[in-house]
Symmetry: C2
DNA sequence: GTGAAAGCGCTAACAG
DNA sequence: CTGTTAGCGCTTTCAC
C-alpha cells in the first residue's frame, strides 16, 4: 500500500506519476475541482487509494499562506462558562472550515501578553481572546498582525473588534424579575478585590438602576465584597454578612459559581431557597441547570456570541482594516427553581 | 519597523541581509544555538528587532517534519470531566513544548472514525483519544500512521497504548466506604441503554464484588437502568424506582452528573442526603465540589492520566513501535457531605 | 564558527 | 481542460 520511497511518505508527485498525469490534475481531484473528467478523476482516485496518499497540510499551508486554524484564548477551560464558549466557538468555526486551538491564560498577565504579542507567525489565521488582566492600552500597543476579536467586558479598545452582552440591561431585567416577585432586600454577590474587568461593575450598575427605577432604597450593606473568586471565599463573604445581621430576601450573583457559593452559605445558615431567599445566577451554565434546586440565571446567548465573533474575525481575515466594531449579543433570564414569588 | 517587501513580511533572509551574515547564522541566533559569538548574536538580534522579524512556523514545520501540535479528541468539552482532562493534558503538553488542539466527537461514530483515520498529514504529531462509540477492531483496522494513545475504558486493543484507572477496584473501595458507614441497601445508578464502553460495567462489577465480599445480598432491583445520559433521564430513572417502592439508603453513581441527577430525584421524593440516602459520585469534578451538599466522589488522578498519556505518546512519537501498553492511573475516594455514617 | 545550496510538499500563475 | 515551473520560508547537510 505504501510507495517505495524511504519513510513511506507518499507525495502528490508520486500519485501523479502512478496515474500518469500532472501534479496539477491530481491537485484538482484532491480539491474536487469541477473541470475534471470522470474517467480522469477515477484514475487519479485509484492511484491515491493504491498509494494511501494523504495531502500534507503543512506544505499546503506554506504554499497558500493560510493555516485554517483559529486560536481561542480564555482564562480557564474547566470553568463551565468558558467550556461552553469553547464548544460554541468550535462548532461555529468547524462550520466555516476552521479548527480551533485553545489557549489557557489562567488569568495570568504574562500569558495574556503572550497571546497578543504572538512571537511566531503562521500558527493561526485569527485569534478570539477573552482577556481578564491586560487593558485597552496594552492591547492597542501590543496589537498583533494577526486578526483579533475580543470577548467579554474589557474597557472597549477603539482599535479592536469586540463582542459582549449588555450587562447593565441584563442585570436590570434580572433584578426587575426579583422585584416583581415581591423581593425587597436584594443583595449583590459580589464585588471582587482586584477585579479589573468591567463585568462586575456593569452588573452592579444594572442592579442599582433597577432598584432606583422601582423607587426602592439602595442599601450599601447589601452589596457584598469578596476577597477572591473561589467558592470558599465567596461563600464566606455571604456567611460573614449573614453573621453580621444583614438580612436578604434575594441575592443577585455575578455568575453561576457565585450562585453555587450562595446556595452553600444559605444552606449553612439554615435559610431556604427560594422560600427565604431567592438566588439569581449568571451565565446559564450546566451548574445552574443541574444544581438542586435548579438555579435561575441570566443567560447570555453563547451561540450568538460565537457566531458574531466569527463574523467579525472573518471580515478581518479577509482584509477589513477599519476601526474596531462593538457588537452586543442577546441575553435572557431563565427562570428555574431558585426564584419564585415570595 | 517593517521591511520594504510587499505584504510587510520579513523573512529570515531579510534579517541575514541587514545583519550582513548568512541565513544559517540568523537561524542559530533564533534557536539559541551555543556556538555563536556574543557580538554576532547582538548584531543579528538588533536586525531582528529592527525588522520586527517573526519566524514562520509553517515553513519551519515543513522543513523539520514536526508540527509541535497534539490533538486531544474527547466527546464533549463542556462536560466537566473532559474539561478538566483538557486542562491537565494542555498543561502537561505545554510543559513538553506542545500545543494542543481539541476535537469534539460529540460521541458520534463518524466523528470518532474521522479522528482515527486522519485524512490529512501534518496536522499534529500525535493524538490522545477518548472513544465512546468505536471499538477495538475498528481502531486496529483504521489505525493511523499518527502516534495514538487511548483514554478511558474501551475494550483494550492489543496494538494501541491506553491509559485508564482501575474501575473495578475504585468502585469496590467506594462501596466499601458506604458499607462501613452502615449502609445496606446500596443502589447503582445506572446502566445506560446503548452504552458500549466498558466503564459502567466495570464499575458495576466492583460494586458487586464489594457487596459479595461483605457478605451482603445482591438485590437486582437496586441496579437501575436509564434510557439515556441526560440529567432528566437519569433523574426519572431514580424517581421511577422510588415510585415502584424500591428503597435505598445509598446510591453509587456512574459519574458526578448522575449524582447531580440523583440529588434532584431524592429532593423531589422528599428524601434527605445523607440522612436518608448517601450519594457517591464519580470523577470528582467541580460539580461535586460546588454542589450543596458537596458530593463525595471517586477521584481518578487526572494529572497522572495526562502525564502518563503524554509519556506513552512521546515514546511513540520518538519511534517506539512495539505492542500496545496499558497503564493504570491512581484513584482515590474523596469524602464530602453526601456520605456519612448512618 | 560561518556561508551556499538543496530540499520539505504543495499551490498557482502561466502557457499550451 | 491539462502540464510546467517557480516559489512559500525555513532547516540542514556540506564545504570553507
Amino acid at each position: 500500500m505504501r510507495s517505495g520511497r524511504p519513510g513511506g511518505k507518499v507525495r502528490l508527485e508520486d500519485v501523479a506519476n502512478l496515474a500518469g498525469v500532472s501534479m496539477k490534475t491530481v491537485s484538482n481531484v484532491v480539491h474536487d475541482h469541477p473541470h475534471v473528467s470522470a474517467k480522469m478523476r477515477e484514475r487519479v482516485q485509484s492511484a491515491i487509494d493504491q498509494l494511501g496518499y494523504r495531502p500534507n497540510l503543512t506544505a499546503r499551508r506554506l504554499a497558500t499562506g493560510r493555516t485554517g486554524m483559529l486560536a481561542l484564548a480564555i482564562p480557564e477551560i474547566d470553568q463551565p462558562y468558558f467550556a461552553e464558549i469553547v464548544r460554541y466557538v468550535a462548532a461555529e468555526a468547524a462550520g466555516r472550515g476552521y479548527r480551533v486551538i485553545v489557549e489557557q491564560t489562567l488569568s495570568e498577565v504574562e500569558a495574556e501578553r503572550a497571546i497578543i504579542s504572538d512571537r511566531e507567525e503562521g500558527l493561526v489565521d485569527g485569534v478570539i481572546f477573552h482577556p481578564m488582566r491586560i487593558d485597552t492600552m496594552e492591547i492597542a500597543r501590543l496589537r498583533p498582525d494577526t486578526p483579533l476579536v475580543l470577548l467579554g467586558e474589557v474597557a472597549r479598545p477603539l482599535t479592536t473588534d469586540h463582542v459582549m452582552i449588555d450587562n447593565v440591561a441584563a442585570a436590570r431585567v434580572g433584578v426587575e424579575l426579583l422585584i416583581a416577585q415581591g423581593r425587597s432586600r436584594i443583595g449583590f454577590l459580589a464585588l471582587v478585590h482586584g477585579d479589573i474587568t468591567e463585568s462586575t461593575h456593569l452588573r452592579l450598575l444594572g442592579y442599582q438602576e433597577a432598584l432606583v427605577a422601582a423607587g426602592m432604597q439602595i442599601d450599601p450593606q447589601l452589596v457584598l465584597e469578596s476577597t477572591g473568586w473561589t467558592v470558599e471565599e465567596v461563600m464566606q463573604t455571604l456567611l460573614d454578612a449573614l453573621a453580621a445581621g444583614i438580612r436578604f430576601d434575594a441575592i443577585v450573583c455575578r455568575d453561576d459559581l457565585f450562585a453555587m457559593a450562595a446556595m452553600k452559605a444559605l444552606d449553612r445558615a439554615g435559610l431556604s431557597v427560594p422560600g427565604d431567599v431567592a438566588v439569581l445566577g449568571w451565565d446559564d451554565t450546566r451548574f445552574a441547570r443541574y444544581s438542586t434546586p435548579a438555579i435561575s440565571s441570566v443567560s447570555p446567548d453563547k451561540a450568538a456570541i460565537a457566531r458574531t465573533a466569527l463574523d467579525l474575525l472573518e471580515e478581518r481575515m479577509n482584509g477589513y482594516d477599519g476601526v474596531g466594531r462593538h457588537r452586543i449579543a442577546p441575553h435572557a433570564v431563565v427562570e428555574r427553581e431558585t426564584t419564585a414569588p415570595k
